[in-house]
């Protein structure tokens, strides 16, 4: 099934990707953000916070935004 995945980590791309049926948000995060901790990200599905066991559906909009971004001096 296809869903819209918006990754605000790094370049901040938005793209449609294919995932297997019955994928939970937790599994999706593990697959997409290898080595990252979920606590360091704001995860929204269809603009809403969801529990980790939420099963993704066709056409869902998943947004992953880091809660820690390092600013800098110009």
């Amino acid at each position: 099934m296809r869903l819209l995945y918006i990754n605000n980590d790094g370049g901040g791309f938005a793209d449609f990707i294919d995932v297997t049926e019955d994928t939970t948000v937790e599994q999706f995060f593990k697959d997409q953000m290898r080595g990252s901790k979920p606590d360091d990200f704001l995860i929204r599905v269809n603009r809403q916070p969801v529990p980790r066991e939420y099963v993704l559906k066709e056409g869902d909009r998943v947004t992953i935004t880091p809660t820690k971004i390092e600013g800098a001096e110009i």
Binding site: T65, I69, E70
Partner: protein, 351 residues
């Protein structure tokens, strides 16, 4: 909570600005392409010149060509990278009005508040109070200005305003380690923030700005948090913690350890400018304890002065007095204090 009508009106304005932004993106792309094409033309010209120089064995001309080519080779990667940035991102369709409306609703949910000003064309949210490494920085207003939206590639279209400012001791325009003059230096978030704005993802934009504000990067701040609350030495400008700052009660300024001293007479702390060295004992003393000798006018500390006279003058005076006393006693012994030389002359004349 913002009125629904207001939000729809604002969503409509955002859509208009996104169209303008798209136009300005293409304009920027054109500008960069023109620059790049110019660089390639110049490279071709240099290549021709180089060929002619070699045919004629004009080595100094060939050297000049090398320098020109080298300069161009430094400039071209920069142009290529800019062009890549502008052409890489897929040119997606503009978000629908309903999507933009949903974005505004999401911002409202994420931040608990959203201020939409349809007159000024601004959208603002307020962060919670921010404290980084035990330094209180207060809450910040993130204010997106739609008027500047289309200038995204040249200026920052939003401001970060400290609502309860606790600026750095050294620079009052720095209200956060990564904010100067209300402009956030996005660092690692730069590309993602720009992409979010280009795509009208306002909720992502505001949350990413908040993520930068709640994170401290000690490698590249405008002012490091370790120096945040420090006081500045009035003399040398060195920033140090308050416990190592000394107040001079004469000029009423704060000084660091190196620029301050204490009076050896009264123990009062003062700066180097308000203290002087005693010309006799060479101790550093404050202005109040520094006096002038009534005899020689030299600067001398009150400890060294005796009856307003410095030890040197005192010694001389004592010597003078002693001599005077000696002379007086000698003349008394001779019995004829008025004509001693005369008698001597008389002796000489006699001989």
């Amino acid at each position: 909570m913002e009125d629904k009508k207001n939000l729809i009106r604002m969503a409509d304005k955002i859509q208009e600005e996104l169209i303008r932004l798209k136009h300005s993106r293409y304009l920027e792309l054109m500008r960069q392409l023109t620059t790049f094409a110019g660089q390639l033309q110049e490279l071709t010209a240099q290549s021709k010149k180089m060929g002619a120089s070699l045919v004629n064995s004009w080595f100094s001309a060939a050297d000049r060509c090398c320098k020109g080519v080298n300069r161009l080779l430094s400039d071209i990667p920069h142009s290529v990278s800019k062009l890549r940035q502008l052409t890489n991102a897929p040119q997606e369709e503009l978000p629908k009005l309903s999507t933009l409306f949903d974005e505004l609703i999401q911002v409202q949910q994420e931040f608990g508040c959203l201020e939409v000003n349809n007159t000024e064309n601004t959208i603002s949210v307020i962060t919670e109070s921010i404290t980084l490494d035990d330094v209180y920085l207060g809450p910040f207003r993130i204010q997106l200005e739609l008027k500047k939206f289309s200038e995204l590639y040249t200026v920052s279209p939003y401001h970060v305003i400290a609502l309860s400012p606790n600026p750095a001791a050294t620079d009052e325009t720095v209200t956060h380690p990564h904010v100067s003059n209300e402009v956030l230096c996005e660092g690692d978030g730069c590309v993602a923030i720009r992409t979010a704005l280009e795509q009208g993802r306002l909720s992502d934009f505001f949350t990413m700005v908040r993520s930068i504000l709640t994170t401290y990067n000690p490698d590249s701040p405008y002012v490091a948090l370790i120096d945040w609350d420090g006081d500045v030495c009035y003399d040398c400008g060195y920033v140090t913690s308050r416990e190592y700052i000394y107040y001079c009660c004469y000029c009423e300024h704060d000084y660091c350890e190196n620029c301050s001293t204490y009076c050896r007479c009264c123990d009062e702390t003062c700066c180097l400018g308000c203290s002087e060295q005693c010309s006799y004992c060479e101790d550093q003393v404050c202005m109040n304890c520094m006096k002038e000798c009534a005899e020689c006018d030299s600067a001398c500390c009150s400890s060294c002065l005796e009856d307003n006279i410095c030890p040197n003058c005192k010694e001389e005076m004592e010597k003078d007095n002693e001599e005077q006393e000696c002379k007086t006693s000698e003349t008394k012994e001779d019995g004829n204090p008025g004509q001693p030389e005369k008698s001597e002359t008389q002796i000489k004349l006699a001989s």
